[in-house]
Symmetry: C2
Subunit: 337 residues, 2 copies
DNA sequence: CGTGATTTTGCACACCTATGCAAAGCCACG
DNA sequence: CGTGGCTTTGCATAGGTGTGCAAAATCACG
């Protein structure tokens, strides 16, 4: 185990002081001459600055804490992968924190502490299921936070979501235009802003169009709950279902077709939300509102980096619109094909 | 921004030296009396040891570098989530590194350097697609490495996989027992040990049973390639397909049913590999060989932690057997129902 | 060449904890 | 009470970098 090569070694070889080496590598001012000498020596010795020592002294780790709760919904792995890439490009790295199943306050506190311990420069809260306590405590710790795919009214926190109300409204218009009269809604978890907003936008537009909603059942973003909700709504004789996210929509479709023997969209139209890759698979061919993950991630990264580098920057609230993707799981209105 | 509370602050308040504080928190010997005083003072001040300073001096960061390439295959998010949990339980954290699409040597080198920069204590290479160069360089850097779901013969590296040859063999037996006579194989990428092993085990057992294989096409773990392979094999009149992983199997099934109008398992039986959660969804109901993710992850974590804590520990090669899960995508032999 | 303005450089210290070493404390036993 | 063995404690330093400050070097200009 050969000892690490330090800035002193480079300094000695280049015939300058250690601080000169430091300055060259941290981008501070240095004359062309010394800069060249230093780089050459560093190259020869294979020197790389020690990130830990640097972080210790600057108080900035160039690490982003990423809190996720449930990667079973394919929307999140997709986002995570993009986050990792984007942050890498910005010179940051991604430390993943996973919240246990039934995350209590104890767990939340532990996670926060661990993030503080590692002196993360910023935090992405990427799960709808995270308690407000977490966000509040991050904020209190003075670390920039951006909520991803999750809002929190009046929190003053930066947040990036898709235009959930608008998205819900689009679905309402689409289903009504399709001639559906008995429309039901398997809602996303109503404890989450994302779930609530989609539901609100959907119901509001439905009302504006003079349509009743046959029923709203909270699917809690859960497979089994979604199935239960489907049973309830089918019993009321729905001819269309708006499901709070794609992941639940798959469960709903499976149940409709296999257990209940219904045709999609013959008997029931189904519309989802997210447009995860799987939604395009032929087995589901799901009509759904696209969340533009790519742009959402970019916006989140930009907002976070901005806050990190300029602490006075105020938290932005970003909503990104996404189109309704027409596929085969829902009857398509005349003239839209 | 209030200054961090350091071990000196705690020491002052507790009336002991800084080293006493350090010893209490690093688990070294200390008398009950001082230990109590220190803990009390720490509690009162809200002290937590600075991980960076600790890492700097001990040379151990308690961070694991996790290299993944493609989270689109749901097997990996599942694994990642479990890794994160398991490592958290062991007091480690997970730094995620994402390999760009067409990862060249330049990218590889950059990733390695970044991991070295952060002084990760260990590395999990969790993708079949990673070049050997990466593994070799990690090894050379003297950092413990474990290959997850990926082998490399003669590399001397620790590795954890499922029993891929055996799994392939099980599928062969199952399909033959089911009375299939024109069996084809959409193989996993033959550049990966995982893909090769499954194929070898499958073909070998098929031969032992006196069955020909109608054809083997490399699906490269890719959606489009799998579809292409399916076309080729269907043209040769297959009545059963063994597909190298579930992710491709979904594409194959979609194509068989939607584009080619074939019934599963009426016209063609399909068997996959992995048993990702989606395989159980009614739309696919895929018969497949289960990779026991939970146990594989635990084994990987154990092996890595073991290597980290005892550098002389030699690299183990672990193969974990998984059962064939019978579902509806393939004809079930008499007497097995 | 002299002088002031500006850039570059080196010194020394800070960041915060772990740990080797020696001194001090404790205990038991004769 | 004295002595030896063992545990506990404090001192001082290392780990590798960034940065304020003052000295030195460079530059521009009269």
């Amino acid at each position: 185990m050969t000892r690490r090569v330090t800035s002193f070694d480079v300094a000695a070889r280049a015939g300058v002081s250690q601080s000169a080496v430091s300055r060259v590598f941290s981008g501070a001012s240095a004359s062309k001459a010394t800069s060249d000498k230093v780089r050459e020596a560093a190259e020869a010795l294979g020197y790389r600055p020690n990130v830990l020592a640097r972080s210790l002294i600057t108080g900035r780790s160039r690490i982003i804490g990423m809190v996720v709760a449930y990667l079973g919904n394919p929307f999140y792995p997709d986002a995570l992968e993009r986050f990792s890439r984007e942050f890498q490009d910005e010179g940051y790295h991604t430390l993943v924190f996973t919240l246990p199943e039934g995350a209590g306050d104890t767990d939340t506190d532990r996670i926060i502490q661990q993030m503080l311990d590692h002196q993360v420069d910023g935090i992405v809260l990427a799960s709808v299921g995270l308690g407000d306590a977490l966000a509040a405590r991050c904020e209190a710790a003075g670390i920039p936070v951006v909520l991803f795919n999750r809002g929190q009214a009046g929190s003053g926190l930066a947040q990036v979501t898709s235009a959930n109300r608008l998205g819900g409204a689009k679905v309402a218009e689409f289903l009504v235009a399709g001639g559906h009269t008995r429309i039901g809604h398997v809602a996303g978890w109503q404890g989450s802003s994302t779930g609530r907003d989609r539901t609100e936008g959907f119901l509001a537009r439905l009302a504006e169009l003079g349509q009743d909603c046959v029923g709203v059942e909270d699917g809690r973003y859960d497979h089994a709950e979604a199935v239960r909700a489907t049973d309830v709504l089918v019993a009321r004789g729905v001819d269309a279902l708006f499901v709070g996210n794609d992941h639940m929509a798959f469960a709903v479709m499976d149940h409709l077709r296999s257990a209940l023997g219904l045709k999609i969209p013959g008997d029931v139209s189904v519309v989802g939300y997210d447009d995860v890759p799987m939604a395009g698979f032929a087995a589901y061919d799901l009509t759904t509102v696209r969340q533009p993950v790519g742009r959402m991630v970019k916006a989140t990264v930009a907002a976070l980096v901005n806050q990190i580098e300029d602490k006075s920057a105020q938290a932005e609230v970003t909503e990104i619109d996404g189109p309704l993707i027409l596929r085969g799981s829902a009857r398509i209105p005349e003239g839209l094909a």
